[in-house]
């Protein structure tokens, strides 16, 4: 765990000159007050299934950073709270972290609604939140750094792939999603995109289900019927978390093979697949900005570090974890460069910050508070991992205000 730290230290030195180059191998952290890192992830309730791994990732990073001498010679201290998948409680806990615990930075949230709930609090109290999950865009707060993907970094490339020769030249698209803002907005963007590519409205099917939907028989047979109209069909799934296992089981049981109707998902990663027997699903796709199967030195280190921390050599990593990891490293670099944890100074230092991410690319934080990220498409393999079949040559910047939403033209700037 210690061997990966020189990168951080080097960046710190580059930013600071010699003034703070002092930290010894085992610093005592005697005088300075610790830097507080808030962790705002649900540990109980419906979102615990996804968010507990992110809590562990942050704790792992804090431990590693301390082992490497902390930042600015100060020790890091994690403040963990449980907002319990309850959105008003997210706002309350955010206020508590900022006003009572006085944290210097917070890593947290998974769902859009939790982020929307805490956003006014972070803006009012001028806090700093790192949000690590892919989302629908249409937001840009000066108090939030978005380290997950915007729609143009995930959804559109994936659909382009499906429509290309390698993806099977799909001509009809079934958009299936859980009924909330991310799928709705993403599908609105995709619909506009598909129409711009000459696909008629009648060849687009859109269907939404409640959270945790477990009975997919009807919808999957309707998709089969939709596919039976004589044109190559593909499914684009924005189905959320819990509902995926029953959905994929139904796909497998109704014999929908990737060769016939490929399904590309934006919310299914290694963690979700860990709960399913993936053999019937080989060849179905997912679009992310990172897969555990990425071959890069940074990823090898990341995986080793995670499995050692969690003491389970079979635990998987996934995209939001990588986004948390990258966000944390960027923040640590920015603090070292700014020489202070003051939010305004760190924010300025964040712009243009670069990290060799486990994705194997150099990711950069832009002034729109979003990361440039590579887009990758992976096929599900029998072992629950993804085989990367396509990726962008470089990391691409985020368009958090999608050009496919016409109203963005008269959006208020600033």
């Amino acid at each position: 765990m210690i061997h990966r730290m020189p990168i951080t230290r080097r960046a710190a030195l580059a930013g600071l000159g010699t003034a703070l180059a002092a930290p010894a191998i085992r610093p005592s952290f005697a005088q300075a007050a610790p830097i507080k890192v808030g962790v705002l992830h649900s540990l109980s309730g419906t979102m615990a299934i996804s968010e507990t791994a992110l809590r562990d990732t942050v704790l792992m990073m804090v431990e590693a950073q301390n082992a490497a001498g902390g930042i600015l010679g100060r020790r890091l201290e994690a403040v963990v709270v449980d907002p319990a998948s309850n959105w008003p409680l997210f706002a309350e806990k955010a206020r508590e972290l900022l006003a009572v615990s006085k944290v210097d930075v917070t890593f947290g949230c998974w769902t859009s609604v939790s982020r929307k709930s805490v956003l006014p609090v972070f803006e009012e109290l001028n806090g700093l939140l790192f949000y690590p999950v892919q989302y629908e865009g249409e937001e840009e707060s000066k108090n939030i750094f978005y380290t997950g993907a915007a729609p143009n970094q995930q959804a559109i490339p994936a659909v382009e792939y499906l429509m290309g020769a390698d993806g099977g030249e799909a001509k009809r698209i079934a958009l299936l999603g859980t009924d909330y803002v991310y799928p709705r907005t993403t599908n609105r963007i995709l619909r506009a995109f598909l129409i711009s590519k000459g696909i008629p409205e009648s060849d687009i099917m859109e269907e939404y289900t409640p959270f945790g939907h477990s009975d997919w028989q009807g919808i999957v047979s309707r998709v089969k019927r939709f596919a039976g109209e004589g044109k190559k069909t593909a499914i684009v799934s924005t189905i959320n978390g819990d509902a995926n296992v029953p959905f994929y089981r139904e796909l497998g049981n109704q014999g929908i093979k990737a060769e016939d109707i490929p399904c590309v998902a934006f919310s299914v990663g290694e963690e979700e697949l860990a709960g399913i027997d993936t053999r019937p699903l080989v060849g179905h796709l997912a679009a992310w900005n990172y897969f555990m199967s990425v071959q890069s030195p940074a990823n090898t280190q990341f995986k080793a570090m995670w499995q050692a921390y969690i003491k389970n050599p079979r635990r998987v990593t996934n995209d939001p974890m990588e986004a948390t990891f990258t966000g944390f490293k960027m923040w640590a670099q920015a603090v070292a460069q700014a020489g202070t944890t003051s939010v305004d100074a760190v924010r300025t230092a964040m712009y243009g910050q670069k990290v060799e991410a486990p994705s194997g690319y150099t990711e950069e934080m832009h002034r729109n508070h979003h990361l440039s990220k590579p887009v990758m498409i992976g096929e599900v393999q029998a072992d629950g991992q993804f085989n990367i079949v396509w990726k962008t040559p470089t990391a691409i910047p985020a368009e958090n205000w999608s050009p496919f939403i016409p109203e963005n033209a008269n959006r208020r700037r600033g």
Binding site: N86, V113, S117, R412
Partner: protein, 364 residues
């Protein structure tokens, strides 16, 4: 269930004591926002966080009070009171959304942001009128009241009582939750409403606005308490308690039990709606999660913990459980569910009359 009979003298003195305790408590709450104005270094300074979280608890206390009126006095165990609370909150949320006006991200003069990016062309009809504060306040009371009237009328008329009514109301709030989760309903789906800017001309993200809302909630709590007190002490209240304890007998005595219960249920729903309306601008978000059946059960548990059938108990329970929850979700994020779960079990097993029963036992 001896709560219905006239209290003996000692009990009356105890009641007086409790009431005085409550008075002091309200007074303490009353000066909290003032203490917040003291410099941070002052020993009596109360933090922003504590003020805002207490404001939230006050709203919960109103909800507990309304539930106690229905359950503790009329014997209607509603597991759907969260729905009335949420409906009141939504009515207020719609008003707050309309007040954002062109300050939204997309600068649309009328439509809230979520409607703009979901491609709405015009405001749905049921959003009309919510730009007016009096209209919105009317809806805060009317919408939950109407729902309670319909559900209550149908159920009480067919003499659905006890557990059956609980399951029915639970299904009601569950159905509403599913419905409100739908984006096509025009209520913002899962995200609900956030990013409120102002209320009655005051910017919401200021200490002054928070103090104002805090006092409004406190006044509402005191008024609700007095209304409930007045009601339960009246002849009507006695009949209500009699219905709770032996409905058939009261009916045979010639009382129209349906209308008695209906009145209590509708009033209770309106109070819950009021609580929701005060809650939303303070927490800054309303979404369908508030309809979740677990929330309603939790509210029932506040009442049970405090002491069912005593108004002071309901208030006490709401503050105790929520205080514990706020503290424990930070102090013991992995274990707080055990503590709360054990508290519920212990209270039902060992303190059937709640904390108030415990205090009474001590005094006697």
């Amino acid at each position: 269930m001896s709560l219905a009979v006239a209290p003996p003298v000692a009990d009356a003195r105890l009641r007086l004591g409790l009431r005085a305790g409550l008075g002091i408590f309200v007074l303490l709450l009353g000066i909290m926002p003032l203490l917040n104005l003291l410099p941070v270094t002052h020993p009596l300074h109360v933090s922003d966080f504590l003020v805002s979280v207490t404001g939230k608890w006050i709203c919960y206390a109103i909800l507990a009070l309304s539930l106690d009126l229905a359950w503790g006095y009329a014997g209607i165990l509603s597991l759907g009171h969260g729905a009335f609370f949420a409906l009141g909150g939504y009515a207020m949320g719609m008003h707050l959304m309309r007040l954002i006006g062109p300050r939204g991200v997309y600068g649309h003069p009328v439509l809230p942001d979520f409607m703009v990016f979901l491609g709405y062309q015009e405001l749905p009809w049921y959003w009309l009128g919510f730009d007016s504060f009096p209209f919105a306040m009317l809806m805060v009371l009317l919408v939950p009241g109407m729902l309670a009237l319909i559900v209550g009328f149908l159920s009480f008329r067919s003499r659905i009582t006890g557990v059956y009514l609980s399951i029915l109301t639970q299904a009601m709030t569950f159905a509403l939750m599913l419905a409100f989760f739908r984006n096509d309903m025009g209520f913002g789906g899962n995200n609900g409403f956030t990013d409120f800017k102002e209320l009655l001309g005051f910017a919401l993200n200021t200490s002054a606005a928070r103090a104002g809302l805090f006092y409004a909630s406190l006044v509402a709590l005191v008024l609700s308490f007095l209304i409930c007190l007045r009601l339960t002490r009246s002849k009507y209240g006695r009949v209500l308690t009699a219905i709770r304890d032996a409905e058939s007998r009261v009916r045979f005595l010639g009382y129209n039990t349906t209308s008695h219960k209906l009145f209590a249920f509708v009033l209770s729903a309106m109070l819950a709606g009021l609580a929701g309306a005060l809650y939303v601008p303070q927490v800054g978000i309303i979404n369908p999660g508030e309809f979740s059946p677990a929330n309603s059960i939790e509210a029932v548990i506040w009442v049970a913990v405090g002491g069912r059938g005593t108004l002071v108990g309901a208030v006490l329970g709401a503050f105790t459980v929520n205080g514990l929850k706020t503290w424990l979700t930070s102090a013991a994020p992995d274990l707080w569910l055990f503590v709360l779960g054990a508290l519920f079990v212990a209270v039902t097993l060992f303190l059937p009359k709640g904390l108030i029963g415990l205090i009474k036992g001590r005094v006697q």
